[in-house]
Amino acid sequence: MTIPSALDPAAALRTALPDVLLDTVAFRNETTLVVAREHIVEAVTFMRDTPGLVYNYLSDISAADYWEPYGGWGERPERFAVSYHLLSMLYKRRLRLKVYVPEDDPVVPTILGVWPAANWLEREIHDLMGIRFDGHPDQRRLMLPDDWQGHPHRRDYPLGYETIMFSFNADEIMKHKPFAKE
């Protein structure tokens, strides 16, 4: 079997699906393609199935929050971003597809139909970052208890701390400790 020569993912995507690609970022030899949120499924399917690209393995999905304490999200277009890290085992290279997600509508289409590996990765982001994945059949929390309030990986979620116990507040603190009491 002859291996077709490797294509430039950005150029190939721009030719085949013109309205999908929004921006390209190159940083430290890593390529990031910023993709329109509603077209992410088309984009990953294209990356997987096109000869010359063959990104056939989903390495990771991770989300970032650009919330800043003084308001806004810097120069970024939206508050959240979800990054899909794809790996081409044939051409031995990686690619990052990135979608920006607005704060008031944190929903991304699920890519579960392309890779079932996205199942837990998407559930983890849903749990900890509060971004929903539209079409995901299992929308329960993954890591945290089902009745947990909030999404800890958001930047505006406080780290939290444990109150130091002194004799004057020991009873009050012990009352709220989660272990079994008589």
């Binding site: 929050d65 990052r96 837990w120 979620y157 780290l159």
Partner: protein
């Protein structure tokens, strides 16, 4: 068993299942009481940590298996957002507690890529030595517990005897047996102590015969073969689609080792083989790891030979790496750098990088996003155990409950690695 490839890395594996299958629900037969629901864990000895599996059983056969994780979720990624890059290293140890050095390396490589920091060659060689010792350490625990799960008690004792030697060597390096935090951004914490190399050479002479011993106990043991061959088969296409990586993926016949394919820390300069299985069952995953242990000894032998010239063990870029102690009494700049690095830390650009290494369990990826300041905006670890537990329902379907224990053991999960 072959040592080099059926080339399966270029194929596009399309997943045939439907999204509805992933609903995470038991079947309707459980509601009518036709099948039985059984909780395995969270405190079951063979779940290797606190993993709860909700099993739906038809007699002894598993109809569906729903893993429930999060019992060890400690918010490590969140905590890192509130620490400087140097301090984050100590947290990475606590994720995969059987291979702490691998986590150190994944994080440090990501930091070095983010700030564009070079590592001297001697530091890379020391890192390779640490990586392969960690791989042996982790595989020894895996082999011992896996065999123990399947009823072979004595292997466990032998494996832990050898692991003890490795932990003693880690103590020589870092002062700590397990949570070593030895690998730091820019190199390693300190140079290897004089007693380390003789101990390592002695260990390398000693270890191959011990691997032979484990093989004598298990490889051709009819009981072991009966329990493992043909059990928990993952076809290569299913394994790729579910994100299975490392020895478990290679057991299915996909020749993919990041050390070989996309080398880091100078792995391209070492001569080693990548063992690849054929059937994708528990036995192949077991045997791939045994061969990997031999390859680790082989890499270690080469690394020891390359280590002889003395040289810097960490970068001399003072903006990122603190100066050595002896400079503090002589140089004003050294005092300033020392003070700045230990109070404020260094800053990294508001950009993102992704680095993946081959940890003993599989592909360990670190996604690191800087803020432009001295703390990361987001750290995310793609951990192999997480993906393997997510794939457990596929592997365990229609198997007997007794085989499930072997399947869990064979993909080598660590719950600290999964939950973080």
């Amino acid at each position: 068993m072959v040592l080099q490839t059926p080339e399966k890395t270029g194929e596009v594996y399309k997943w045939e299942g439907s999204v509805e299958e992933l609903k995470g629900l038991v079947t309707e037969r459980a509601i009518t009481g036709e099948t039985m629901l059984l909780n395995m864990g969270p405190h079951h000895p063979s779940t290797h940590g606190v993993l709860r599996l909700l099993l739906e059983l038809d007699g002894e056969e598993i109809v569906s298996c729903l893993p429930d994780v999060g019992y060890l979720h400690t918010g490590i990624e969140k905590n890192m957002e509130h620490k400087t890059y140097e301090k984050c290293v100590t947290l990475t140890d606590r994720m995969d507690y059987l291979a702490p050095m691998s986590n150190n390396l994944a994080f440090c490589l990501a930091v070095e890529k983010l700030v564009d920091l070079d590592v001297p060659e001697r530091a890379s060689i020391i890192r390779v030595i640490c990586m392969e010792l960690t791989r042996l350490n982790s595989h020894l625990v895996w082999l011992g517990t896996h065999a123990l799960d399947m009823g072979a008690m004595s292997v466990f004792l032998y494996c832990f005897r050898e692991r003890e030697i490795i932990l003693e060597m880690f103590e020589m390096l870092s002062g700590q047996r397990m949570m070593s935090s030895y690998i730091r951004p820019g190199g390693v914490w300190r140079d290897i102590p004089p007693e380390f190399l003789p101990a390592l050479e002695k260990f390398l002479d000693y270890m191959p015969a011990k691997i032979d011993d484990y093989e004598k106990l298990l490889t051709n043991n009819p009981l072991w073969i009966d329990r493992t061959q043909g059990i928990g088969i993952i076809e290569p296409d299913v394994a790729m689609a579910w994100g299975v990586s490392g020895p478990s993926l290679r057991g299915s016949g996909v020749s993919w080792d990041i050390r070989k394919a996309m080398p880091y820390s100078g792995y391209e300069q070492y001569d080693f083989n990548v063992p690849v299985g054929e059937h994708g069952d528990v036995y192949d995953r077991f045997y791939v790891r045994i061969l990997e242990m031999r390859e680790s000894v082989n890499i270690l032998n080469q690394a020891v030979k390359r280590l002889t010239p003395a040289g810097p063990f960490r970068s001399d870029n003072r903006k990122f790496v603190p100066p050595p102690r002896r400079e503090l009494g002589q140089s004003m700049e050294a005092v300033i750098h020392h003070f700045k690095l230990w109070t404020e830390g260094f800053s990294a650009p508001d950009e993102e990088v992704f680095v993946a290494i081959e940890s003993p369990r599989g592909e360990l990826g670190c996604y690191l996003h800087g803020t432009g300041g001295n703390k990361p905006r987001r750290v995310h670890f793609k951990t192999p155990s997480f993906m393997h537990i997510a794939a457990l329902p596929v592997m365990s379907k229609n198997h007997l409950i007794a085989d499930l224990v072997g399947i869990i053991g064979s993909v080598d999960i660590v719950l600290g690695d999964c939950d973080r």
